[in-house]
């Protein structure tokens, strides 16, 4: 293997950005859709873990990773339905319910996933886009998973749905003013339930990527806050799907920094580099939030930015 020196770090960060960003991308697009309907679901962290576990289990039992992806999405939708159902009760706080579902999701995933920590399930295939290069590093960097490409397509599609279709308009109306939506005869709780379920579906798929591609096995430390960082990411992206894509790549790159530096022998402060994505999220939130004005693009009914 040729030694690329510090170029290797840049390449590894880029490759990491592509690899690590996929779950961020799916969860944040799901969260974006939910938030556009005026509700926030902090439980997507639990959904992500639940998706990772169920995808791995199903892939192991059926031998088909794609069945795993589908089941992960369905499990996520189920959690979204639970969140929506509880939040539609009067006087129930959606942020607190999200925290509860985060705990329930991780607990259930750890409980049900116990038998699947050891066995090796078939994982998702990757498309080799680096065939033109002789460098093994470039080749491995361009091993791109189909789910990432799906996410690339999904972001503009979601933007189109939200801005150009009737359904998108209904979701945005419900998110901006529940009263206006009610006056126009739209069922607010039903629209929010649908948006939360769709959001959970996407987050579940994001989770399946974790266990079925990268890191590519199921264990209990698989997701540490990625679902929650996605919430911050949506705020940073100002509720815009395309900007979500950029932000997900940025977060992925930050997450890949520690391992990339370790590979060229910089082991000092490995744990500090592990904190980079969290620190980045925090700094971004400090830079983009404001106490005095509502954020541009924020849905009017959203409790987190009011």
């Amino acid at each position: 293997m040729e030694d690329l020196g510090w170029w290797g770090v840049a390449l590894a960060v880029l490759a990491g950005a592509i690899r690590v960003s996929t779950p961020f991308l799916f969860v944040s697009l799901g969260e974006l859709l939910t938030e556009k309907s005026g509700r926030i679901n902090l439980g997507l962290e639990g959904t992500l873990v639940m998706g990772a576990m169920s995808a791995y289990a199903v892939s192991y039992m059926t031998g088909s990773p794609w069945a795993g992806v589908l089941v992960a999405g369905l499990a996520g939708a189920l959690f979204g339905l639970l969140h929506a159902a509880i939040c539609s009760l009067p006087r129930v706080n959606d942020i607190a319910v999200g925290i509860a579902l985060m705990l329930l999701g991780t607990g259930l995933a750890f409980f049900l996933g116990k038998p699947f920590i050891q066995p090796q399930a078939p994982i998702l295939p990757a498309i080799d886009l680096g065939w033109w290069s002789d460098l093994p590093q470039v080749r491995s960097a361009l091993q791109i998973n189909v789910l990432f490409i799906l996410g690339l397509v999904l972001a503009p599609f979601l933007l189109w749905v939200l801005t150009n279709t009737r359904w998108g308009l209904i979701v945005r109306t419900v998110g901006d003013s529940a009263d206006a939506a009610r006056a126009m005869g739209y069922p607010v709780d039903l629209v929010r339930a649908a948006a939360t379920m769709a959001g959970g579906f996407l987050a579940g798929i994001g989770g399946s990527f974790l266990s079925l591609y990268y890191p590519g096995s199921w264990n209990e430390g698989l997701s540490s806050g990625q679902g929650l960082m996605a919430v911050a990411l949506v705020i940073f992206a100002r509720w815009h799907p395309i900007r979500c894509l950029g932000a997900a790549l940025l977060f992925g790159g930050a997450g890949a920094l520690g391992p990339a530096l370790q590979s060229v022998g910089v082991t000092q402060g490995y744990y500090l580099f592990n904190a980079a994505p969290y620190l980045l999220t925090l700094v971004i939130m400090i830079a983009t939030c404001s106490p005095t004005r509502t954020l541009a693009g924020a849905p009017g009914e959203l409790s987190i930015t009011k």
Partner: protein, 367 residues
């Protein structure tokens, strides 16, 4: 507007009734609804356990035995209750201001780390001085950690729920870095730790109880927090901010000061829990500090409806549930995550039960 979000329903509802009967009615509502939610939890959890192939009645019986069955299990329960009392306060105090802080785990970890560092710096000092400085260091560090989340909310409008959780992950990474590098005891091989305090420098047990003093710290902190919130001008101001920020500002209260001080006290409680874990349980700071006490504390505070006195029995219950986990694993071959599932179900039920307040005629004051 700051502080208008994430209001905890009913969190700051004072008993308005003047008649003793009305007070009893509202007290009955405040007790019976959570109890009902916990019963519903027991039913759902029983079904879950049955689906997993264990006998639900045997499970509950084992849990009772593991938690309160013998004096030994009582001790085990009380040891675990100590940090839970303090981490629950980390949620309950800011909740009075309408803030949802979920990063108690981070304040506990950073408090434990800083108290261990203080203990290293004070090596050779008399035990009472060393422990005193450790406690102060832990409280100051934990307090600063949560106060930072409060300050970001107050001055930058950053959502405190997310920022406090991010800070928790940062605290854990910092702790791992310090015990792996600068503060590492070379003698700790597989599990990097700070140098051990030494038997004679650790917090001992309360006489006759065989439970360390952390329990007493926790109980005192809960009572003090109750007095502070219910019986002082400071607490009145804080509850007023939680009720209506604008009205509080009009009345001339310093919302920023109330927020920062309350968040600092909340974080100091969790930081003290970290110090107790270091000085009474582990003897050094290491990854064992990340045990999930901070997350259980969130649940306890919510079940106790953010009331520091109600935290005491609820923390005891969850200390018992945590203590019984080992027995469930050994006897019924259930995974250790069974306890997490139970906590998750309880949390969901408790939040769903929020909708029941004010629904039942019988609890409403007449007049």
């Amino acid at each position: 507007m700051v502080n208008q979000t994430a209001r905890l329903p009913g969190a700051a509802a004072p008993p308005f009734g003047n008649l003793p009967l009305d007070a009893i009615r509202s007290a009955a509502e405040a007790v019976l609804i959570p109890v009902g939610a916990l019963l519903a939890t027991a039913v759902v959890f029983g079904i879950f356990v049955a689906l997993a192939g264990a006998d639900p009645f045997e499970t509950f019986e084992l849990m009772y035995r593991g938690a309160f069955g013998t004096w030994f299990s009582w001790q085990n329960t009380l040891q675990r209750t100590a940090p839970l009392l303090l981490t629950a306060l980390c949620v309950a105090l800011p909740a009075r201001l309408g803030l949802v802080i979920i990063g108690g785990e981070g304040a506990l970890v950073i408090g434990g780390l800083c108290s261990a560092a203080a203990g290293m710096a004070m090596a050779g000092a008399p035990p009472w001085l060393l422990l005193g400085v450790m406690a102060l260091a832990g409280m100051a560090a934990g307090g600063a950690w949560i106060a930072l989340a409060g300050a970001l909310r107050q001055f930058r409008g950053v959502n405190e729920t997310i920022s406090s959780l991010l800070l928790a992950y940062i605290a854990i990474a910092l702790m791992n870095h310090m015990v792996e590098g600068p503060l590492r005891d070379p003698a700790s091989l597989n599990k990097p730790s700070t140098p051990p305090l030494g038997e004679s420098f650790m917090i001992g047990s309360m006489p006759g109880l065989d439970v360390h003093w952390g329990l007493a710290f926790g109980l005192i902190a809960c009572v003090a927090a109750y007095v502070l919130m219910q019986r002082t001008t400071f607490g009145f101001g804080a509850r007023m901010v939680g009720g209506n920020v604008r009205a509080a500002r009009m009345a001339g209260l310093s919302v920023a000061k109330l927020t920062l001080v309350t968040c600092f006290l909340a974080g100091a409680a969790a930081g003290l829990a970290g110090m107790v874990e270091v000085a009474a349980v582990h003897g050094s700071a290491n990854a064992s500090l990340v045990a999930g006490y901070g997350y259980t504390g969130i649940l306890i505070a919510f079940i106790a409806r953010q009331n520091p006195l109600a935290v005491i029995p609820v923390a005891l219950m969850f200390g018992g549930i945590a203590a019984s986990g080992g027995l469930l694993q050994r006897r019924l071959d259930l995974p250790d995550a069974t306890i997490l599932v139970l906590q998750g179900i309880a949390f969901v039920m408790i939040l769903a039960s929020d909708t029941l307040y004010g629904r039942f005629r019988i609890f409403q004051p007449r007049g």
